[in-house]
Symmetry: C3
Subunit: 271 residues, 3 copies
Amino acid sequence: MNDLKNALIKAQEDVRANCPMAPSITNFVTIDFVANAQIAVGGSAAMVYMPDEGGAMAEISKCLYINVGTLIPVHAETVPNAAKAAHEKCAYVLDPVAAGMGELRTKLLTDMKDYPPAIVRANASEVITLAKMWGLIDTDEGKVRGVDSTESVESAREAAETLARFIKGAVCVSGKDDLITDGERTILSFGGSEYFARITGSGCSLGGVCAVYHSVTDPFTAAVAATNAYNVAGAMAEKKAEGTASFKVAFLDALSNMTGDDLAACPMKEI
Amino acid sequence: MNDLKNALIKAQEDVRANCPMAPSITNFVTIDFVANAQIAVGGSAAMVYMPDEGGAMAEISKCLYINVGTLIPVHAETVPNAAKAAHEKCAYVLDPVAAGMGELRTKLLTDMKDYPPAIVRANASEVITLAKMWGLIDTDEGKVRGVDSTESVESAREAAETLARFIKGAVCVSGKDDLITDGERTILSFGGSEYFARITGSGCSLGGVCAVYHSVTDPFTAAVAATNAYNVAGAMAEKKAEGTASFKVAFLDALSNMTGDDLAACPMKEI
Amino acid sequence: MNDLKNALIKAQEDVRANCPMAPSITNFVTIDFVANAQIAVGGSAAMVYMPDEGGAMAEISKCLYINVGTLIPVHAETVPNAAKAAHEKCAYVLDPVAAGMGELRTKLLTDMKDYPPAIVRANASEVITLAKMWGLIDTDEGKVRGVDSTESVESAREAAETLARFIKGAVCVSGKDDLITDGERTILSFGGSEYFARITGSGCSLGGVCAVYHSVTDPFTAAVAATNAYNVAGAMAEKKAEGTASFKVAFLDALSNMTGDDLAACPMKEI
């Protein structure tokens, strides 16, 4: 744990020092929140949609962010282009939003097995669905039926650990508590706020922030850093909030003032 | 009126208890505001663009929200698919943003006459334009020339009542005061704030919130509930606002704390 | 300078009196910020994407805003249509976001030389890149290598002045200080906040606000008015900010309370 805490402190320092750009292909609902969260922690944002731009971004950055919410037809070409380029030349964080819904989304996510991300950030249901899509967990056990984001993240532990080993990276399962694993180590991160479920985009923007941290450190440390940042800032913001919108303002404010020591002080437990 | 007030109280309680998802096809400008307003009153949001996804959403929800602002080519297929599916399997709320402007928008709105919404939420000009498009009011009287959202909502009363009877639902005309009618009963709801005209998306998000309430109650009660929520929250927010952006934050905060008693206490008058 | 200050005061008064609509074709990230900033200073916003809508907007407004961030395929037709129509029938403000990146963006910006904007609003790097694209400055001097938005705006002075003379309008180079020129007069505007670089959309929305002011005054006065509004509101907001998100709220609040006297009182210097 001490090594991890030191790595978190260094990650935050390196992000503030280098302002890494983590380009995104992300949904229209929370695109502004993703960009502002990435900038708040010290990174830089650039959003693209055209098929040639995802690949171009992979040439000039260390980690992309791909979020498959609100697809439009151009994503059919842009997402595979960007994911392949990022897999080969740098890395990417995947948020498999609404995995299992819609033909295009299903095809895009299924095909990503051949050029997997370094980090998957999702809720319990989406992690299990993705692991099933890729044939990594037994679908006959029926464990996944009815799982949604209100379930405990621990229900997705096996899927997450299996997925993390397959991608040789990290999986971050968001819920009341948050589970992060690289397939060897699995930890829970605590804190946050019930308000996270009452605004749109806390999950999406967390994925974007994972991509900022992964520009300066390994997938597991990056996923823990991003999650801890959200848990610390969420808990601070809840104290100031008078409703959902002032929570979001206070949360982004706290994120913009985040230090490495804050990340290291976030309650965590190895499980 | 007492029956209506009791129905409003029950609607808010049912929304908070069931967290109904009201999926949207909506514009890019205010998509985040729509989602956050829907969640604030107690519902859940999901935004889609692909042609197969609107229909899929109609299978798993009680009411969609379709807003025809900022169209892109994929809407040519997605909007009719979603509207038809929702008309048959559940229901939808329509915001005919900028009705009369642009070829695609005109075609989409004209065609909806064959699979009409349960609720239309619009300003006076848009309500009159839609009623004309569908041949429901006499276009030779020239009443509509120059009508825009700064006119009194009562100028659209006849169009709104005729439209409400045609769709067998409710029409909500937003303005300084707000008119809601099911073609039999017509009421005005009072309150709100002049700040509503100085931020983008108060109308769009009101349509999305109508869809949340219509997931638990009839069109007329749903339209009144949403309008009253906006009038109560707007008046509360104006007291805290130091400008347009703090108004929006305070407004969403107030919406997130809204109770059934608040909805029932909003000043209303049958006309 | 006194003439300019009087023109700034008159511009703000005319905007508040006439509420000019300045329609936009703009990116998905900051579209809400653009609209809310335009409304805050006293204008009106309308965002479009369809090929026939840009031309239609040029018929009913005095100035469009075209921002080439986050392109999707439909922009290939919509941007030239709107730019040509605006060049002929009214005017437009261009934000050449990420000039030089991507095939479609390069083509759109290159072709605009034949139907240029009245105002270009960009950072130093983008201004130099656009002037090079249009063959207006010598590309062999290598001055532009490595220029990005962190460089002083004065490094782009020559490019900006040459560009302004070519378009017979004004160029606004945003940076720590801001340079505005019409090719004859060149001024610096001071103030603002370091927070501008820590939120997304301060540049994009400034372009949209230029279009609002250019609806009531000449390009140079409009560019100065918009820049001064941002510098005054940014400095006021920094005093209230507890982080990036509360800065943005306070900034938009200040913009919504902006007066002509505020614009005239902003520190400026002719260079």
